[in-house]
C-alpha cells in the first residue's frame, strides 16, 4: 500500500523496481475514483451530484489525505490558509494552491462557512488577504450544525400494514455559544417530516424574508435510488439546509429553529400544514358562511396569513375574484404596488437569476471538461506505463531501455498531471458551487416576493369588500329612511352591517400593517442579498482564479521537467 503519499509523489524515481510500477498501475486512482464518480452520476447534469461524488470519491480513495473525511475534527480557527501574496511582481511566483489541509480552512468549504460566520473581525484578518469578510458583526457568535447517523425506525402508530411503515431519522447535533439556546451542545433525532414542518412554520412566521428553501421531498427518487445512496443524499441536503438557516441573521434567532434543534419529540403542526383538517373545516364552514350562519368576515388575526393556507374557502374565493378583477377588470384596484424601486429591482433580480443559471450551466461544462482531461491524461500515462513494462521485459537492445526510460519520464508526468487536474477540479467544484447556492436563494427571493403580493391582494380584497359593504349600508339606510317610523328588520340589518364593517375595518388595518411589514422585510433582505452576494461572488472569483493559477503552475513544472530531461540526444534517463 502506498499510503498517503501525495508529498512523496512530488519526487520522481518512483519506479525503482517493476513491483513499484505495478503498484502504481494497481493503485491508480483512475480505476477506483473515476468508476465511483461515474457510477454515482451517469450524467454531469447535476452540479451537486458531481460535487458530492468527487468529494466522496476523494474521501474514499486511499491516497487522498484523511483530513477531508472528518471535518468535525478540525479546528477552523487554528491556522489561516496559506496564500502567498499574489501581487508579487515576480512572474515566476509560485502560488501554493489550497493544499488539502487548507481546504478545511478555506471559506468556501461549507464545513467552515458557518464557523467563520460571525467571526471576530480581528481573527478574520489573519485569513487570506484574498477573502473578504461577509460578516459586519463584531460578535463571535456561532452555530454549528451537523447531521449524521441515519437510523431506520419503525412507525409505531397507525400501521395499517403488519410490520409497519419504516422511516429514517437523523441525528442533528448543534454546537453554539449563543446564550438563548441555554446549552452549548445538544442533539435531537428528527425525521424528514419534521423538517417539512419547520419549513412551513418558518414560511408562516417570516413572510417577506428570503428563507432558504428546504430540501425536496424526492418522492420518486426515494423509491428508485438505492436506499443507502438516497439516505446519504438526504443527510447532506438536510445539513446544508439547516446550516443555511443558521446563517440567516433573523431566522437563526427564531423560536421555530430553536425548538427544532433542541426539543425532542414531534413538532406541533402549524395551522396551515394539516391539509386534511383544513379542507374539512373549510368545507364545513362554507355553507354556513353562505347562509349567513357563520361569520362571513375575515377575522383580523387570520389576515396575517395568506388565504390559500387558511381554512377560509370564502376568503379564498373573494381574493381570487379580486385578483381576476385586478388583471382583467377595467378599474384600477384600490391600492397597487407603487414602489418603483421595488419593481425595477424585481425585474433586475429576474435577469440576475437568468445569468446565474446560465453561468451555473457553463460551470458544469467546465467541471466535466476538467474531469475528462484528468482522466484521459491518466489513461495516456497508463498506456505508456504498459509500454514501458513491455519494452523492458522484451528488451533486446539498449536503445529500447533508453526509450523505456524516456517513456517513464513522460508517463510519470502524465499521471501526476492527471492527479493535479482532478484536484483542480474538486476545488473548482467547491468554488463554483456558490453559483448553485445563489440559484437556490433565488427560490427564497421568489417566495418573499410572493408573500408580498399575496399580502397586497388581501389588502385589496378587504378594501373592495369595505367599499361594497359601505355601498350596501348606504342603500339600506336610504331605503329604511323612506319608511316612516322605521323598519325593524332593516334597522337590525343595518346594525349587523355596521358591525361587519367595523370588523372588516380592523381586518383591513391589520392587513395593511402586515403588508407594510412584509415590504420592509423585502427591502432589508434585498439589501442584505446585495451586500452578501457581492462578497460571495468576489470570493468565488478569487478562489477560482487562485486555484487555476496554482494548479496550472504545478502542471507546468511537471512538464517542464520532462522537456528538460528529453532535451538532449545523449542517452540519459531521467
Amino acid at each position: 500500500m502506498m499510503g498517503s503519499e501525495n508529498p512523496g509523489f512530488e519526487e520522481s524515481h518512483l519506479f525503482a523496481s517493476r513491483e513499484e510500477m505495478e503498484n502504481l498501475v494497481l493503485d491508480d486512482p483512475l480505476t477506483t475514483t473515476t468508476t465511483t464518480a461515474t457510477n454515482n452520476n451517469n450524467s454531469y447534469s447535476s452540479f451537486r451530484s458531481a460535487k458530492s461524488s468527487i468529494s466522496d470519491a476523494a474521501t474514499r480513495h486511499p491516497l487522498s489525505p484523511p483530513v477531508l473525511s472528518t471535518p468535525a475534527e478540525s479546528d477552523p480557527l487554528l491556522s489561516p490558509p496559506v496564500f502567498r501574496n499574489p501581487n508579487a511582481s515576480d512572474n515566476n511566483s509560485y502560488i501554493e494552491p489550497p493544499s488539502y489541509a487548507d481546504v478545511i480552512f478555506s471559506p468556501f468549504d461549507d464545513n467552515s462557512a458557518n464557523e467563520i460566520n460571525r467571526v471576530d473581525s480581528s481573527s478574520h484578518d489573519l485569513d487570506s488577504s484574498l477573502t473578504l469578510s461577509r460578516s459586519s458583526s463584531s460578535t463571535s457568535d456561532y452555530i454549528k450544525i451537523t447531521v449524521s447517523n441515519p437510523k431506520k425506525e419503525q412507525e409505531t402508530t397507525n400501521s395499517l400494514v403488519p410490520g409497519g411503515n419504516t422511516y429514517y431519522t437523523y441525528l442533528i447535533t448543534t454546537r453554539t455559544n449563543i446564550a438563548d439556546f441555554g446549552s452549548s451542545e445538544f442533539s435531537v433525532r428528527r425525521r424528514f417530516r419534521d423538517v417539512v414542518t419547520l419549513s412551513d412554520r418558518l414560511a408562516e412566521s417570516y413572510r417577506g424574508y428570503f428563507i432558504p428553501p428546504r430540501p425536496d421531498k424526492n418522492v420518486v427518487e426515494s423509491q428508485v435510488m438505492q436506499k443507502q445512496e438516497f439516505v446519504e443524499h438526504r443527510r447532506v441536503a438536510l445539513e446544508k439546509y439547516l446550516r443555511r438557516l443558521a446563517e440567516h441573521p433573523v431566522i437563526r434567532q427564531s423560536d421555530e429553529l430553536k425548538v427544532f434543534l433542541q426539543v425532542e419529540g414531534r413538532l406541533p403542526l402549524s395551522m396551515s400544514t394539516d391539509v386534511a383538517s383544513r379542507m374539512l373545516d373549510g368545507a364545513v364552514k362554507l355553507p354556513k358562511q353562505l347562509f349567513g350562519e357563520s361569520t362571513a368576515v375575515v377575522a383580523p388575526h387570520e389576515v396575517v396569513q395568506p388565504a390559500k393556507g387558511g381554512r377560509d374557502l370564502l376568503r379564498l374565493f373573494k381574493e381570487l375574484r379580486q385578483s381576476v378583477a385586478n388583471d382583467w377588470g377595467g378599474s384600477k384596484p384600490p391600492v397597487v404596488e407603487e414602489d418603483k424601486v421595488f419593481l425595477e429591482k424585481k425585474e433586475w433580480i429576474h435577469d440576475l437569476e437568468q445569468q446565474i443559471s446560465n453561468a451555473s450551466q457553463q460551470a458544469e461544462s467546465l467541471v466535466k471538461a476538467q474531469q475528462d482531461m484528468g482522466e484521459t491524461m491518466g489513461e495516456l500515462g497508463l498506456a505508456f506505463i504498459k509500454l514501458i513494462k513491455f519494452e523492458n521485459e522484451e528488451a533486446m537492445y539498449n536503445s529500447q531501455r533508453v526509450r523505456a526510460a524516456d517513456m517513464k519520464c513522460l508517463a510519470t508526468a502524465a499521471v501526476k498531471a492527471s492527479r493535479f487536474y482532478r484536484e483542480l477540479n474538486a476545488q473548482t467544484v467547491k468554488h463554483l458551487d456558490t453559483l448553485h447556492e445563489y440559484l437556490g436563494l433565488m427560490l427564497a427571493v421568489h417566495g418573499a416576493f410572493s408573500d408580498r403580493s399575496s399580502a397586497l391582494l388581501t389588502v385589496q380584497t378587504l378594501l373592495s369588500e369595505l367599499s361594497t359593504l359601505h355601498a350596501r349600508a348606504e342603500k339600506l339606510e336610504a331605503a329604511s329612511s323612506k319608511i316612516f317610523g322605521g323598519d325593524k328588520s332593516r334597522i337590525h340589518k343595518i346594525e349587523e352591517l355596521k358591525e361587519t364593517i367595523r370588523v372588516t375595518e380592523d381586518a383591513k388595518n391589520v392587513a395593511i400593517r402586515e403588508y407594510e411589514r412584509i415590504k420592509e422585510n423585502n427591502k432589508c433582505e434585498l439589501e442584505r442579498l446585495d451586500k452578501e452576494r457581492r462578497v460571495d461572488f468576489l470570493n468565488m472569483l478569487k478562489g477560482f482564479v487562485v486555484n487555476q493559477v496554482g494548479y496550472a503552475e504545478k502542471i507546468s513544472d511537471v512538464w517542464a521537467k520532462v522537456a528538460e530531461e528529453t532535451s538532449g540526444y545523449a542517452k540519459d534517463s531521467c
Partner: protein, 401 residues
C-alpha cells in the same frame, strides 16, 4: 517533425570518398487540384544533391500521393528485408474534406518518408528513388499505372499472410511444431515483440487522440464560461460586474490558446505515435515476406531432394532421360541458390534493420516527447500567467466594493 529531415552524409558509399556525398529532399507546397471525387493534392518535391548518379545538383518535381505509394511498393519489392519507411494512410474519406490540418499533416509525413529513404544507406541508392525524384510528371504517371507490387495484393491475401505469421507465433508459444517454419528462437521473440508492440502503440495512439479532443473540449467550455461571465457582469454592474467581465475576457483568451494547443498535440504527439504504429506494420509485412522466402526455400530444397533421388535412379538405370533430368536439376539448383540467397539477404538485412529501427525510434520518440512536454508546459504556464494577471484586478474590485 522538422527535426526528422536530415542531410545524409553517407559514410559507407563504395563509390565516392566519404563525407562528400549529400542528398537532401523536401516535400512542400501542397496544392489542391482537380474536382470532387477526382480531386487530389500535388506536392513539390525538391532534391538537392551531389550524387553523381543524379542529373544535376537541384531538381524540382511535382508528385502526388500515389507516386509516393509507387515508390514505397518498388522499394519493398527490391529491397527485401529492409523496413521501408511507412506512408501516411490513404484515407478515402478525409480526402473529400481536405482540411488544411489534414493536408499539412500528410505533407509532413511525406517529407519524413522521403528523408528517411534519403538517409538510409541502401535505400538512398535505389534507382527507383532516383526516378521518383527526377522523372517528369508524364513518365511518373506511366510508371505509376503499371505497378503491381506487394501492396497491390488483395487485402485478403495480405491478411492471410499476417494470419499465417501470427498463428505461427502462437503455435510456437504453445509448443507445437510446424514444418515450414524457421526454428530460430530469437526471431520468434522478435516476431512476438513486433505484434505485441503494435497493440501497445495503438492503445497509446488512441489516448493521444482523446487527449487532443479534451483540449478542444476544455477550450470550448472556457469559451462558454467566458460568455456567461460577461453577461453576468453586465447584469451585476459596478465593481463586481467589472470583475466578472475581466474573468470572462480572460476565459475567452485561454479558450483560444487551448484550441491552438490541441492542434499542436496532433503534430507533436498523435502523429509521431501513429508513425510508430505504421512503421511496426511495415515490419510486419517484411516478416511476411521473410516467411514466404523461407517457405519457398524449403519447398525448393524438398523438390531438389526429390529430383536428386530421381536423377540417381535414372543414372543407375542408364535412362536416356538422364540428360533432361540433369538439366532440370541444374536449373532447379540455380533457382534454389537464388532463393536461398534472397532469404539470407532478408535475414541479414532484418538483423541490421532492427537495430537501426530501435535506435531511430528511440530518437523519434524522445523528440516527440520533448515537443509534447514543451507544449504542455508552455500551455500550462500561459494559463497560469493569464489567470494570475487577473488577481490584482480582482483585488481592486474588492477594495472598492
Amino acid at each position: 517533425m522538422e527535426q526528422q529531415r536530415s542531410t545524409s552524409e553517407s559514410s559507407q558509399s563504395p563509390r565516392s570518398p566519404p563525407s562528400q556525398r549529400h542528398l537532401s529532399v523536401s516535400v512542400s507546397d501542397p496544392v489542391k487540384l482537380g474536382n470532387g471525387v477526382q480531386g487530389y493534392i500535388s506536392y513539390r518535391v525538391i532534391t538537392k544533391t551531389n550524387f553523381p548518379e543524379y542529373q544535376g545538383s537541384e531538381k524540382i518535381v511535382i508528385r502526388r500521393y500515389s507516386d509516393f505509394v509507387w515508390l514505397r511498393d518498388r522499394l519493398f519489392d527490391k529491397y527485401n528485408g529492409i523496413f521501408v519507411p511507412p506512408l501516411p494512410e490513404k484515407s478515402a474519406v478525409e480526402k473529400f474534406r481536405f482540411s488544411a490540418e489534414f493536408i499539412e499533416i500528410r505533407r509532413q509525413a511525406l517529407d519524413v518518408f522521403v528523408n528517411r529513404i534519403a538517409s538510409h544507406n541502401e535505400l538512398q541508392q535505389s534507382e527507383d528513388f532516383r526516378t521518383f525524384l527526377q522523372a517528369d510528371e508524364e513518365s511518373m504517371e506511366r510508371l505509376r499505372s503499371q505497378e503491381t507490387g506487394i501492396f497491390k495484393k488483395k487485402p485478403a491475401d495480405l491478411m492471410l499472410m499476417f494470419k499465417d505469421v501470427q498463428s505461427k507465433v502462437s503455435d510456437v508459444v504453445l509448443g507445437k511444431e510446424k514444418p515450414l517454419e524457421e526454428s530460430n528462437p530469437e526471431y520468434e521473440k522478435l516476431k512476438h515483440y513486433v505484434f505485441e508492440l503494435e497493440n501497445h502503440l495503438t492503445e497509446a495512439q488512441k489516448h493521444a487522440y482523446y487527449l487532443l479532443k479534451r483540449h478542444r473540449e476544455l477550450g470550448q467550455s472556457l469559451s462558454g464560461i467566458g460568455k456567461a461571465a460577461k453577461l453576468l457582469g453586465a447584469c451585476e454592474g459596478q465593481a463586481l460586474g467589472k470583475a466578472f467581465d475581466e474573468l470572462g475576457a480572460k476565459s475567452e483568451t485561454l479558450s483560444i490558446k487551448l484550441q491552438k494547443e490541441a492542434h499542436q498535440l496532433l503534430m507533436n504527439l498523435e502523429e509521431p505515435v501513429k508513425d510508430y504504429v505504421r512503421a511496426v506494420q511495415s515490419i510486419k509485412v517484411t516478416i511476411g515476406e521473410r516467411a514466404n522466402a523461407f517457405r519457398h526455400q524449403c519447398e525448393l530444397a524438398e523438390t531438389m531432394k526429390l529430383k536428386e533421388i530421381n536423377l540417381d535412379k535414372l543414372m543407375l538405370t542408364r535412362s536416356d532421360r538422364v540428360g533432361e533430368a540433369e538439366q532440370e536439376y541444374k536449373e532447379l539448383k540455380a533457382e534454389s541458390e537464388e532463393v536461398t540467397r534472397r532469404f539470407e539477404t532478408i535475414v541479414r538485412r532484418m538483423n541490421e534493420e532492427i537495430v537501426r529501427f530501435q535506435e531511430q525510434k528511440t530518437q523519434d520518440m524522445r523528440i516527440a516527447f520533448h515537443e509534447f512536454a514543451k507544449g504542455q508546459a508552455r500551455l500550462a504556464k500561459s494559463i497560469a500567467d493569464a489567470w494570475r494577471s487577473l488577481l490584482p484586478k480582482l483585488e481592486v474590485c474588492s477594495d472598492t466594493s
